[in-house]
Every structure is written in C-alpha cells, then in structure tokens.
C-alpha cells in the first residue's frame, strides 16, 4: 500500500480515503472490490485512475461520488467525514460540489439531451431562462450544438457520453468524477474532451478525477493512480497537461 503524500502547502485535501474497503457478498462469494485503499487528492489536481478491468476503479469512484458507502474505512470530503452525513446531506453534497460521469452514462430515456443536462439545474432551483442558457452552453462545450432535442436513443454512444459530461459540468462542480469519459470516443474527440477538462482545470480550478484505459489520456493528468485487485499499487507523477 502506498500512501499518497499531500503537498505540505495544503493541509486539508479535497478528498481523503483512509483504509477504505468495499466487500460484496459474503462467505465463498465474497468479493473485495476495494481492499484498504488510501488516497488523497488536493484541490485543483487533475488525476487519472488506471488499472485492469475489475480492479475496483468504478467502485472507488462511486464511493468518492457519495453514491455508495464503503464497508470499512473513512472518506473525508474537505475534511468532513462523509460517514457522519445523513442521506440528505450527502445528496446536497452531490448537488452542490460533485459532477459525475457514469461509465454507463445513465441518461434519462425518452428525454432530450437538453432536458437531461437541465435536470441538475432544476434541483438547484435555477430559473428557467438561466437553465436553458447554461444547458445550451454546456452542450456547445462538448460539441453537441444542434443535438439538443434528440433523446438518448437517437444519439450515438459517443454523443450520449458527451451529454453525460455536459450534465456533470453544467452545475460548475468543485470536483468532477468521470468514469471513462472518453471510453466511447474517437481519438480526435477524446483529445477535444481532454482539452476541455484541462482548460476547466486550469481556468476554474476544477478538480478532476477520471478513469481511463488509454495512456494518451492519462498523459493529460498531473498524477496517475494505478489500481490492481482493489488496491492502489502505484502513483506516478505524469507529465501533466501541456
């Protein structure tokens, strides 16, 4: 196990996992999806997560996104232990600080791209006109101008993925958790998305944690964290963006 040292200048990391385990099933069917993970991520970092299939990347992302609860260990967000928050507080944490791009997109069926992107804004009580403007902007950012009124069924996998990215970004979260955000995109599109993420990271200080299988994409990150069998096995400083 490798402890991730926080830079001395920033004593409270944005994210801190301490000996986090996630166990599915029990007895012979027991699966340790995460097995004592320690992890720290500072505000403003762009971090890539890599590792073979089944190594626990998505499980970790779900826990960091407050969508799932760890079996053991503690998760602090800006120093606040998430275990101590109730369901509503965790929902508000998601609403105000987190953007999540799911591996399987998880868009609402039979709902236009625009309405999908608007959805988090509705829960934030953004007025209608403002909501429309922000949603249009977010879709333009991921190159989907002209596709606003198509439903997920009428969009390609890559387009759906970009709608999911737009939905995660439209609220201007502090932390973007993206589970393979470029998994369905061609190389050119992937680089566009990465350019977008690095831009937001630089200009707005958006912290990004993203799962990827591609070394090309991981190369945009400041650091690369490697998972294997539910453990963090390696953390390497990457070249970083630019």
């Amino acid at each position: 196990m490798i402890a991730v040292d926080a830079p001395a200048s920033d004593p409270v990391p944005l994210i801190e996992l301490r000996r986090v385990s996630k166990i599915y099933g029990s007895g012979v069917a027991e699966v340790r999806a995460l097995d004592g993970v320690d992890l720290q991520i500072q505000e403003g970092e762009l971090v890539a997560v890599m590792g073979p299939s089944g190594s626990g990347k998505s499980t970790a992302m779900n826990i960091l996104g407050c969508l799932d609860t760890p079996t053991q260990g503690s998760y602090r967000f800006r120093g606040v232990p998430v275990e101590s928050l109730d369901r509503n507080q965790r929902a508000l944490l998601r609403r105000h600080y987190l953007g999540f791009v799911f591996q399987g997109f998880n868009l609402l069926n039979r709902t236009s791209a625009l309405e999908n992107v608007e959805l988090p804004l509705i829960y934030r009580r953004i007025p209608r006109a403002e909501r429309h403007r922000l949603a249009h902007e977010a879709l333009a950012m991921v190159g989907l101008t002209g596709w606003e009124h198509h439903s997920p069924a009428e969009l390609s996998g890559g387009q759906q993925q970009r709608v999911a990215i737009a939905r995660a970004m439209v609220t201007q979260p502090s932390l973007l958790l993206a589970d393979e955000p470029t998994g369905n995109l061609d190389t050119a599109r992937s680089h566009e998305i990465m350019a977008l993420l690095t831009g937001l990271n630089r200009e707005r200080g958006l912290t990004v944690l993203m799962v990827t299988h591609e070394a090309d994409m991981a190369a945009y990150a400041h650091r690369v964290i490697r998972f294997l069998d539910g453990r963090v096995v390696d953390v390497v400083a990457s070249g970083g963006p630019g």
């Binding site: 799932d68 929902a91 987190l98 998880n106």
Partner: protein
C-alpha cells in the same frame, strides 16, 4: 418545492405518454362503469316506485273470493253498494271508498271500434287512483243517483275512437247502450307490469249495473287509507267488518281478500334493488379490474422508474423531492382519470337514461367512492414503489434490474 415537483411530474407524464394514457384509461373505465350502473339502477328503482305511486297511495283493494293461483279466484257472492257504504260510514281510516264493477266490451263510435275495459264506479274512484281530468267534468250527483248514460274515458280510448277530435259531448256505443262522454282523463302511461292504464271507460256504478251487467254486484272495493293510519290496521278492520256483513262464522275462512298495494310496491322495489345490487357488483368488479390495470402498469414500470430515481438521486435530488414528484404525478394522473371518468359516466348515464326512459338519479356517494378508490389505487401503486426506490443508495437504484 411543490412547483418544482409539479414541473418534474408534468415532464414525466408527457415523457411517458403511453403509460400515462393507459393509467388514466384504467381509472376512467373503472369510475365510469360504477357510476353508470349505479345511476341507472337508482333510476330504475325510482321509476318503479313512482309508477306504483301513480296507481294510488295507500291503496287497499278488496276483491270477492280468495286468490287460488294465477288468474283464478274461488267463487263467492259479490259485494253490494251497501258494503261500500258501510265501509265509508264505519271505517274511520278510509279517506275514500270506491266500489266498482268492470267488464271487457267493444266501444263503437261511427265506424271505429275499440275493445276496452268498462268500469262502473263513483267519484271516489278518481281519488283512490289519483286520476286527474284533462278536460270535461267528473260524474255529478244526478249522474250517479239517476244512473245517467254518461262516461269518462282514458287517453287511449280517446285516441282510438276519436283521434284528434274533441270527445266531450260525443256519444259512444257500448253493447246496446249509448253513452255520452263528459270527461277525458289525463294520460298515465304504462303501469309497472306493462299494462296500459289509459285504456278504460268509466261510468256511474248504477248505470253500469242497470244497462251493462244487469245485476247489483260490486266486484271490487278500493279503499284509500288516510295519512297517519296504518294500512295493516285498516286491513284488519275491513276484514272484521266484511266478515260480519257477510255472515262468516269464526271457523270459516274469508271469502274475500284485502290486498295492500304497499306489499306489491315493496316487492317490486325489492326486485329492482336486487338488480341494482347486482349491477353494482358487476361495476365493482370493473373498478377492481381497472385498478389492477393501473397497478400492472405502475409495477411494470418500476424497474425503469427505479433506475430513473437512481439517476435523480445521483445528480443531487433529495429523497423527499423525488417522492413529492412521484406523488404529484400519481395524484395528477389519478385525478385526471377520475374526472374524465365522472364526466364520461354522467354523459353516458344521462344518454342511457333517456334511451331507456328512466329518470336520471345523481348519486354523489358512488361518484365519490369510485373517484377515491381509483385515485387511491393510482397513488398507492404509483407512489409506494417510488418510495421504496428513493430509499435505496443511488448506486443500488441504478443497478436495479
């Protein structure tokens, strides 16, 4: 928060048009079926009751002989006018006493003829049977005393013999007698048993006895009981009086019968009430089937809804926001279905009532029951699966299969 929930719910309804329409349809059919059936049943009951009422209120019918079976009576000496007068004098509960005798005869006017029932009676007949005159007059004292050849006719007889002509003052031939029409009765229509009540010719009893029957017999005495007196008590009193007058010893049975019209009323309204209950049962089944339909649609969509709830929770919706949205949606759909069902039912019942010639009786109770039942089904099966889903961890809801 409510406004937001309404916004989300309306989006959801629009997004799932087919599901929404099917849900509404289930409620519409259930609600409409119950209301239509109960309304028509009530109408039928009301009609039967009012038809019987039109025969005369609190009416006792005294006939000679005992009923032996359908259409058969035992033989016994007829009543006389004196019997009727004795009742009029001695029975305080009797508001009006109408002695009468009837027979079937062919009535002729010019070259038209019509077979009808001719009844000899007196003015009390109009009271006991609730008859009113359309035009003309009733029998006068001198008509009755002198046995004059005058008659009052029903609407059917008028139509068949006179057409549109004014019958007053015209002459009808009955057997060998000529009789002048002095009055026309207001039409009553068919009786509950489907008999034409307007097919009759009435004349003074004395005229009938002398010119048609050729005897002094009275076959039927109808007694209208005063309000506030029980028909049962009056029946007993009549039986006592008549047994005495007819010299029936204590060991013998009555050779006449007193029939209370209220019994017939109760019997017939009882029958329609059973019918209404039956219709209501059928309607309740259709309401239940509608409810099961709604339930199925809601349950089938649970997987999809659970996933959707997972998505909403994941992007920061609170449990109570999601629940409020689904509750608003279920209530909106159910109420819309309920209201459409009520409108449809009212339209259909008014139409059917007209078609079947029944009075339209608005039954608020059943409208409310039907509405709240279907709304409850919609809300329960729309809301509770949503509640279960909203209590899951978002990731659990998203993984739901």
């Amino acid at each position: 928060m409510l406004w937001n929930a309404l916004l989300l719910a309306l989006r959801e309804i629009r997004r799932n048009m087919l599901r929404s329409v099917l849900t509404i349809l289930g409620i519409v059919i259930g609600v409409a079926a119950v209301i239509v059936m109960v309304t028509l049943g009530d109408g039928a009951t009301r009609q039967v009751a009012s038809q019987i009422e039109s025969l005369g209120s609190n009416l006792l019918m005294i006939r000679v002989g005992q009923r032996m079976g359908p259409g058969q009576r035992s033989n016994a000496p007829a009543f006389s006018l004196a019997d009727a007068l004795a009742i009029r004098r001695d029975v305080r509960a009797a508001r009006a006493v109408a002695p009468s005798s009837s027979t079937s005869l062919t009535a002729v006017v010019g070259n038209r003829s019509w077979s009808t029932t001719v009844t000899g009676t007196d003015d009390a007949y109009f009271t006991v049977r609730n008859w009113e005159l359309e035009v003309g007059r009733l029998f006068s004292i001198s008509d009755l005393r002198g046995g004059r050849a005058v008659c009052v006719i029903g609407a059917t007889v008028r139509r068949e013999l006179f057409g549109a002509m004014d019958p007053i003052g015209e002459t009808i031939r009955l057997k060998s007698m000529a009789c002048q029409v002095v009055g026309l009765l207001r039409a009553k229509g068919q009786s509950t048993m489907g008999m034409d009540q307007d097919d009759l010719v009435l004349m003074p009893l004395r005229t009938y006895q002398r010119r048609i029957a050729g005897n002094q017999d009275v076959n039927l005495i109808q007694v209208s009981v005063r309000d506030g007196f029980s028909t049962e008590e009056t029946t007993k009193e009549l039986e006592r009086l008549l047994r005495e007058r007819r010299n029936i010893s204590a060991s013998e049975d009555d050779d006449f019968s007193v029939r209370d019209l209220k019994e017939i009323t109760n019997m017939l309204t009882g029958t329609t009430r059973v019918l209404t209950a039956l219709l209501t049962a059928v309607a309740a089944v259709s309401l239940l089937v509608g409810g099961i339909g709604i339930m199925n649609i809601m349950l089938v969509s649970v997987t999809e809804r659970t996933r959707e709830i997972g998505i909403r929770l994941a992007i920061g919706a609170l449990e109570r926001e999601v629940l409020l949205q689904f509750l608003v949606e279920a209530v909106a759909l159910s109420s819309l279905g309920g209201i459409l069902g009520i409108l449809l039912a009212l339209g259909a019942s008014i139409g059917l009532a007209q078609l079947l010639n029944l009075p339209f009786v608005f039954n608020l109770g059943i409208v409310l029951i039907a509405f709240f039942f279907s709304a409850a089904v919609g809300v329960i099966f729309g809301y509770f699966p949503a509640r279960r889903a909203a209590r899951l961890d978002p990731i659990e809801a998203l993984r739901h299969e």
